[in-house]
Subunit: 297 residues, 2 copies
Amino acid sequence: MKIDFDGIQAFVVIAELGGFSKAAEHLHVTQTALTRRLQKLEAYLGLRLLDRTTRYVELTVVGREFLPQAQTIVGDVTRAVSRLKDVSSRSRGNFTLACIPTMASQMLPKAMRRYAETHPGNRIRIIDASGFEVRDAVLHGQAELGIGLPTESHVELEEALLLEEPYMFFCREEHPLSRKKQIVWSDLHEAELIGISTMSANRIFLDYQLAKRGIKLSGTYEVRHLSTAIGLVAAGVGVAILPNSTLEEGARPGLCRIPLTSPTIKRKIVILRKRNSTLSPAASAFFDLVLDQAGSS
Amino acid sequence: MKIDFDGIQAFVVIAELGGFSKAAEHLHVTQTALTRRLQKLEAYLGLRLLDRTTRYVELTVVGREFLPQAQTIVGDVTRAVSRLKDVSSRSRGNFTLACIPTMASQMLPKAMRRYAETHPGNRIRIIDASGFEVRDAVLHGQAELGIGLPTESHVELEEALLLEEPYMFFCREEHPLSRKKQIVWSDLHEAELIGISTMSANRIFLDYQLAKRGIKLSGTYEVRHLSTAIGLVAAGVGVAILPNSTLEEGARPGLCRIPLTSPTIKRKIVILRKRNSTLSPAASAFFDLVLDQAGSS
DNA sequence: AGAATTGATTCTATACTCGCATAAGTGGCG
DNA sequence: CGCCACTTATGCGAGTATAGAATCAATTCT
């Protein structure tokens, strides 16, 4: 049983326009083809749908009954198909992106602006979550893409480097170290250090990097979000070691940002996608755009 | 733009069954064919609908979005098509029949009983109306078939003879003529004749037939329906000349039915259909059945 | 490591659909 | 009554597409 969509479409158009020739012109095929399509459909069904002489074309009783159904079928199919062609050719559609908060307020806005220019109308749903949650969201399909920290090369994840940023020392202008051009790790007094929760991917990474070099750090205070840490520093509670992009340049006048060296430790920001899964064109375009932006900066 | 229903169906079945081979079995084609159908559809759309390895087949984001639409499309089409095949192969369906009242209570019941045996579930809508109305109903498509009197060979109508029946003389047993075995037209006393309205096709036909033979008839009373005339005869108002089938044999004990000769005038009952129009299988089956019944009686 | 499963590919034969040219049917007009 | 204009149907040839058989390739399970 081989169902013939062309035949149904032929039937609908012929019935609507009231003639084979007119319908043929409308469908950009010859009248011959339409005659044959309808004949084939009728033969397949075993019924006559159109009574036609060389003068008139009119619906049979069965044809009149079938026409509305045929119309909705043809309508549904052409609508669905043309929508999909739109999705593919112009990358129309929406997608979901998971992103860690710092990047959501730093790098993401610029990318979204550029994306909006090239793909007006496409919406991006953003899940802003911790590094772990970003990874899981991508892994479980809640988000097609993720921006976050590198994973331990998970088999089902594929990651591409977006940027590297050094950890910096943040303090108030009144702080004794604020005048230095650069700071080494041994300069730090643990007592006043505001740390990030040991549950965070950020902290785990930093601890690991420091441990490799024999450095151990344990602050007095512990918060979960980088932005909270910045707030505490600004309030004079202490100092903090945070990724450079935590604070936009010149966003908080009273705060100093000083490079940390010996060693300089950098964290990587990557864009994540599920391996072996095809991105929607909308997400794919965004992926390309972000990679391009990363490569050119 | 050539839309591929097979491809959409392949997509749906593969997605639902989760594998090409299973889907191939279900559709009674080879796995090769399905691979190709899906490839063709994807190429046409310019996107991937299924991410597949040799181990898993799973929907892409776009595929997941398209699946419900595809399912309704496939469902609608197969449902509509199989219904039509049902209509054609088993003459399923309803139709409308126009019929003059006498035949509706005489010949029609038997035909309907036989039809119901061979085509259970098919409904017949019956328009019982005058001879003229029957003709118009068929002509204007309100009814596919009509049972009534012959028309003046209307170009757009085709008629087939069902039966011929003589006009008979009806009177009460007390009537002076009731003992005769047959009656000739000159026996009639016009004064007590119950006529049919001159608007009726029946009356026009009868008048025409009599006029050809130089007989003119004009009753005192005039009614519109044959059944009313019978009622009046039974009530002793007068006598009437009516088609034989107006009264079933033995239906009214007190009434006599006597042949009218010199000449015997018969009216024809025909089944009408529109010329050059295709009947629905349901109506066609009924048409054949009625003709068969007429031929064998 | 090998067997089993499953989707992809290659090759070939068949079937299909189309378009051209033309026939055939139908209503209108002189 | 027959010719003309218009519309659908058909014969035929060709190019394309589609299906199936056999085989390959990748992956998992034992």
